[in-house]
Symmetry: C2
Subunit: 339 residues, 2 copies
């Protein structure tokens, strides 16, 4: 099943989207918002599935052509946005660039930060930034939406609470990160509003690409119309989503609608070293920081700039038949002027 939210009101209006993303039908009579649906998932999911079947059969009443630009992030806001960093290749690279070793504990204890969920941006909405000097970057990721997760569940139980999957652009201000991390309280101003793919899907939509609570497909990243990365999201995700959800719920209950992110998708090269850019025959990257770190390691300096106003980032994932699964995050960076 594929679901989305029309960009209306603070929480959007729930629609069901056809498998090929061409058509949609309102579902507000079943649940006004995706948040409301996830809060009563056991009861409402079967009704939504039924409408999804009708939509794919062209028997759904009131179906209309889908314009992805009319969509907000599936949850335009959430009470809990927690982002892991499960691709340790990314973490190793970041630390290597500043000559810091990665602790062994990172291989068994997931990294996760608490994000702000009150004002996500729509998938085709501009990324407003105060200054290019902040080192504006994108991070291509996957994320899951859970229902209510009791405190202290193990990974096997946590897996049962993963109801929906989507893409994320976890916008990051790299220039603000070192100062914030030095303060010891984690990211805050360095992590402005994220955006999510226009469509979220139930795990069964991924078929056998959903294994061990990982998505075994490449993430396609375009920067200003050029292919920047096609990293595989499956094999190098050290912790699956089940482990990430269990980590998030270790000392607290998670409320329905919690969004748990994977961290930046990242692959090492075939030799285990840093991966190569697409232009050099590699799979590329899903953030600028990574190519800059690879450049620093190889050439002693970063050459690729961070995002400038006017730059455009596009994140999408295709199934093995070449069909877009989640629709596209497609955003331009623009200058923001405070009131």
């Amino acid at each position: 099943m594929k679901l989305a939210s029309l960009n209306q009101g603070r929480d959007g209006e729930l629609i069901v989207v056809s498998r090929d993303l061409a058509r949609a039908v309102r579902a507000t009579d079943i649940a006004p918002t995706l948040q409301a649906a996830i809060e009563h998932w056991e009861t409402l999911a079967p009704r939504l599935e039924q409408r999804y079947a009708q939509l794919n059969d062209s028997t759904a009443e009131g179906a209309f052509d889908l314009d992805q630009r009319a969509l907000h992030s599936p949850l335009p806001r959430t009470y809990n946005w927690a982002d892991g960093s499960a691709y340790l290749n990314h973490v190793q690279l970041v630390r290597q660039a500043r000559n810091a070793e990665m602790p062994d504990s990172f291989w068994h204890d997931p990294l996760m930060y608490q994000g702000g969920g009150d004002a996500f941006i729509a998938p085709t909405e501009d990324i407003e930034a105060v200054s290019e000097e902040h080192g504006i970057d994108f991070e291509g990721e996957l994320a899951v939406i859970t229902d209510d997760v009791p405190m202290g569940v193990d990974a096997a139980a946590a897996a049962e609470h993963i109801k929906l999957i989507m893409l994320v652009n976890d916008v990051s201000l790299r220039g603000l990160i070192p100062g914030e991390l030095a303060k010891g309280f984690g990211f805050f101003q360095a992590k402005p509003a994220s955006s999510f793919s226009p469509i979220c899907v139930t795990p069964d939509e991924l078929g056998n690409a959903w294994q061990d609570s990982r998505v075994h497909l490449p993430l396609t990243v375009h920067l200003n119309g050029e292919t920047f990365g096609q990293p595989e999201a499956g094999p190098d995700m050290i912790f699956g989503f089940a482990e990430l959800v269990a980590h998030a719920a270790r000392t607290r209950h998670l409320g329905a609608g919690a969004v748990i992110g994977s961290g930046t998708v990242s692959n090492p090269g075939p030799d285990g070293g840093p991966g190569k850019p697409v232009g050099d025959g590699g799979v590329g990257y899903s953030c600028l920081a990574e190519v800059r770190m690879v450049e620093k390691i190889l050439y002693g300096e970063s050459r690729t700039p961070f995002l400038r106003f006017g730059d455009r980032v596009r994140l999408e994932m295709f199934n093995r038949d070449g069909q877009s699964i989640f629709g596209a995050i497609d955003q331009q960076v623009v200058a923001y002027h405070a009131p």
Copy 2:
């Protein structure tokens, strides 16, 4: 005006509470929840104020005796819970205990962490904890609720967005903090669900105790029925709430209902050194970590234990006439067993 939420449903049901906290009246016809009220504050606040006046005049229809145990936290969940650490005496003490100097930058750049807002606990609900070994602690704080705050506002503009004030118990698992801070991503498992005072109030309710977006009154802390602290919340708050809100909004818009905390209320002693316990003539503390740090500095070891199952914490604030302003957070720690 004083507002609260009956502990019904995920977001509570909005009520207006009399100035003396004795009586209440439903306000769900004006806004079903406090979240809904804060989203349309300009329009709805005057109607709520009118009902508050009627309640205090004993002319409100349907008024009833208030039982604080029937209340949830004013916002039982929020899309944004961000907690500052504006009492630098607390920060200095923590760092002194581990022989780390506090950077000078801390005097002009606020500390703030992003908390999880999806499942707050009610003010008289038990604090469920997996293990006493986690070093269970309370943190007595103040917090404000804002309406929509545009990105990049300065402190003067931010002050106008502070609509409501309340108390917080920012439950902390001290034993998990060093490991999490070493990972560099900030607090996560170390900060389980917080709770808030049963009643929140508009700034005017504080009279001249609300100055420079600080609350100039002592916070009363009881531990197992004994006075543990009465620290003054005003003078040693290095950053007022206006500065904290502006800090939170520097690189993103804040959605209506954002909750911004002050950090643990803390006073140095009259000599500028660590403050003394109440039993030694000092104002005491609003968390256990602080007395443990003072003990470590004075005696070379911490003597006061962290919370044990069965311990009870009570946080309250009284006006200069001795009347409770926000009602009491009054919670017992209990053992939690995962499903």
